[in-house]
């Protein structure tokens, strides 16, 4: 008849009614999955923590700090005055290694540097973006221990990144420093633990030292 343009009838198979819940489930699941991938996959916790590059000289903090008990400041001696906790000059190594382990294979780059005056090219582990200005002195002089950001360096044979060093991570501590504050004399003592509850101690120290870390943008970004 006139109104009927085609003889063949197309019909969807019966099972297609299953599609409705299936489709809904797929959409919800997919979104959730994508979200998780982004959230977890791109978080500094995943990307940065644990970064442990191989250094030109297999220097072991576990040996020097952990076993021999050398103070952090023996090598990183600018940490209390300057923004950088400077990596020591070759000279510092040679203070001991001029006599200790003189022949060691591992120390060849050090001796070479000492002789030639050319630097040893260490690989940076804790690497903040160039637009972030972190000042070591401001933290250690106020009682934030090395361990809070660097972890138990004294047990690391190869130094690795302990904390995410993300902005959110910094803010957490700047907002509640009492979680990490310790008496300044214990700042460099990595294995120190407070006798009392950390929060109680922290609040007292914060009170005493008048420590109110700013959370303004230009505290770190200039």
């Amino acid at each position: 008849m006139a109104r009927d343009r085609s003889d063949n009838i197309f019909v969807f198979p019966r099972w297609t009614w299953v599609l409705r819940p299936g489709f809904a489930a797929a959409v919800a699941g997919g979104l959730l999955y994508a979200g998780l991938i982004v959230w977890l996959g791109f978080s500094p916790k995943t990307t940065d923590v644990g970064y442990a590059p191989e250094q030109p000289v297999p220097y072991s903090h576990a040996l020097h700090v952990g076993q021999l008990g050398i103070d952090c400041r023996y090598c990183h001696n600018t940490v209390e005055q300057a923004a950088h906790a400077a990596v020591p000059p070759t000279q510092t190594c040679m203070n001991c290694h001029a006599t200790v382990r003189k022949e060691s294979e591992k120390l060849i780059p050090v001796r070479a540097s000492y002789a030639s005056g050319l630097p040893v090219g260490w690989i940076r582990v804790h690497d903040l973006p160039d637009y972030v200005y972190f000042d070591h002195s401001a933290h250690v002089r106020r009682g934030i221990g090395c361990v809070s950001c660097h972890g138990r360096i004294d047990s690391m044979d190869v130094v690795y990144q302990f904390a995410p060093l993300s902005m959110g991570w910094c803010l957490d501590c700047h907002r509640n420093p009492e979680r990490h504050l310790r008496p300044v004399e214990f700042v460099f003592q990595l294995d120190w633990v407070p006798e009392e509850d950390q929060l109680v101690l922290g609040r007292r120290l914060r009170e005493a030292g008048g420590i109110n870390p700013p959370v303004d943008c230009n505290t770190c970004h200039r």
Partner: protein
Amino acid sequence: MPSLINETGPMYWRSLDELARTPEFAEAVRREFPNDEWDRLPAATRRQFLQVMGASLAFAGLTACRWPKEEIVPFAHRPEDRVPGVPQHFATSIELGGVALGALVTSYDGRPIKAEGNPEHPDSLGALSAVAQASVLGLYDPDRSRQVILRAGGQEYAKSWDEFEADLAGQVTGSGDGLAVLSEASSSPSLGRLRDRLLAARPAASWYEYEAVSFDGERDGLRTAFGRPLHVLPHLDRAHVVACFDADPLFEHPAAVRLSRGFAASRDPHRPDGMSRLYVVEAGYSLTGGRADHRLAVPASQVVGLLAALAAAVMERLGMPVPAGLGDAGGGPSPESFLAKLADDLLAHRGAGAVLVGPRQDPLAHALAAVLNAVLDNAGSVVSYHELADPDRPSHLAAIGELSARIAAGSVKTLVILGGNPAYDAPADLRFAELLGRVPNAVHLGLYDDETSRACRWHLPQAHPLESWGDGRAWDGTLTLQQPLIEPLYGGRSPIELAAALLDPVPVRGWEIVRDTVRAVAPAADFELHWRRCLHDGLVAGTAAPAAAPQLDLEAVSQLALAQEPPPAPSANALELVLAPDSKVYDGRFANNGWLQELPDAVTKITWGNALLLSPTTARELGVAQEDVVAVSAGGASVEVPVDVLPGLARFTALLSLGYGRTAAGGVGNDIGTDAYPLRTTAAPWVIPRATVRPLGRRQKLACTQDHHAIDTIGFGERNRRVANLVREASLDAYLEDPEIFRHMDHHPPLEQLWKEGTYEGEQWGMAIDLNACTGCNACVVACHAENNIPLVGREQVIRQREMQWLRIDRYFRTPQGVAPDEVEDAAMVFQPVACVHCENAPCEQVCPVAATQHTADGLNAMVYNRCVGTRYCSNNCPYKVRRFNFFNYRKRMADIAKMQLNPEVTVRSRGVMEKCTYCVQRIEKVRIAAGNDRRPIRDGEISPACAQTCPTRAITFGNLNDPSSEVSRLRGDHRSYATLEELNIRPRTRYLARLSNPAAAAHVDAGGGDHGKETA
């Protein structure tokens, strides 16, 4: 052609790394530390090549992102006094036009990154001119020559210093016959010593000194008046009446910083003995003219006439006989009122006035000034005269003339040119560039392989002042030391080293030469200690030339006056063309300095080039308009230049600045602007009569940072209406009558908040800018540029209104109401430095969708580059338009070597990011952390932003508003304190102090804002 000549930045780094392993380098190190004694000096260690190495490698890392891994390159042997990342400061000096300015240079990990004034130094007093500050950029200029070049037979050969020395030894024979040395203006005692030794050792040799911009007019004038040349040193802080005849003591003068400081002091309304008054007679606006209480625009050639008339008038009233030739010396127009007023004032303040004459004027004018200062007893009180180290040297023009003649005669075999660029800037009539070709063995020591080098046989790379030892004398004669902060980047040598080489072939280090000089000039028991102290201070204390009390020789002056025939008065078809050193590139030597090229000229606000300045009426009568290209012809020569129409110029007078149109300046400076030297002759070096201007029917855009387009009548009228409120000014009398006068100048409803007022505890930073002290000299702009890693954008971008300076100096002309733009004849010029004013209710903050700009606890309007997405909404909503946007990655083409200048304390902004003044937050944070570390409060004045630090007149004050005792709080309490656009209730943290004028009684009308003050009072 050998390729080494055009090495680029990256090439440099590679070669440096290789260098470190080559024997030549070892040799260099040996030469650097000849003996042990050397190593003990603090100065020594900082020139270890390791720093340069470190810098290079660090930069390789710094530009990389996280995951190509970054290297840490510690010292092998860290010097005692070095803490990585903590800047050091060294006192040195920067010589310009034979006058040494003391500077304090910041060195960051061995890289000099910023020059500031040396507070110990008499001519610097802790501040530094724009040009001197920019020399830091010159150090890292990738276009600097890196190579000894031998030019022969149309070929260029890369040679070594040894090869040159060998060749020179052959050329310079016993008596030095045929040897001539051409030095640029230098006050270096070391160079003087070497010169004398050379002339003694080689009697047949001759020594010349030439520089395009010199103060020889003054030398000769005073030679006439006093029998011997002297330096005139005005003590403006003591002055009550200052009369400047074509003189610009506040900017053009070598000791401008010192003079400005004095002037500012004399303009303090609360000065016990009252505020000083300034009269200016000049052809076109100078910065001094901008501050004048009474200003008279006359052709430069007429100035001497006015001076003579003034002298006559003064002497008459003193009842002295007027020497012949003075009364009628002036053929030009002599407006009685002005001169009479000035004469009265000078007489009323005998012994408390100063008559100053500028370098463009001929000796007679200077002589007349000397006469006036003498008869008015100003000499010895406000004006002091100081002996010169080299009284007998001929004037620069005479010297270059004589040298040219000798070359033409063929009697010069070896010509050693120590710096300078005579082939470019010698008087046109000498044809010096051609003459150079006739010298068999011409040697040019220069920072660049420039016009002169290309006409010479040898080009020798010169060591930059920051790379080499040297010395010089301040305007008052103080011996100032120059010490290097870094190993010569391109193995250059300093003039004194080359001069020494002429004496004995064994190279002597500049260090030794300078030490010997100091030892000779100022012997001391324990010289080592003395030497260290001098190095630390940057000068040898107590070496200022003693003030002289010369005898005036009126007769000689009147003879000179009689000998002078009155100059013709200019007319439409015989204009007077006045040349002037450029306010930025000076005589052309800074043409390749991006900071200076992009710096807006103080008066015209033109960047990247020069223009022919004409007054509106003159332009109309000549039928030329803004940005028309015209041909300027005089004495047969002709140049093409665009026109800039500007109020405040004398009728039929055209101004043109020197130093542009360079052909061998480098990538930045080549073919920028118009070279005016072809018009400049020995006979008429500055003021050129009978010039003609012919429009060429072309137009050329001027890269101007203000009034980017020709102004229409509506805009013009509105601008005039607003100026009075933006830059508030009143006469001193009006102000004293009613101290509240400036508060009455704008009327707006009470400023109430919609919501609860925020409270601001702790330090609250704020700024006060004293417009009464500001001279508009641009020093702060360059300081800001250097401190904050502000990118250069280039001419094209400036034309598109994308200049990046965070701090700009707004220049307004107060024109009488109802005058059409093209009829403005005279207009008062006022300046207002404008940067982000850090509003408490900042309009920019609320519109940013990502909170990239927000308010900090200490009241700063923080701009977070790394959060900015670049909507530019903040800039739109900023009523001051002080925000700057990176429309492109302006550092794409930046040479690696130039990156060494960047301040590591300030983030380098990339494309698509907004930026603006931060009150130098990096300096605030530095002090805050330091103070917090030792648990002490921040002292007032401990923090000083770059602009405030370098301001010659201390016009900018920064500090804590919550501390009632701080200087800034005091100033903001002052009656003159006001905020621009206050009616918007945005609560700016930067406030201004209104300008005061001090017109002579019964002459308020002449003063810019005086009348306005009257109305509202």
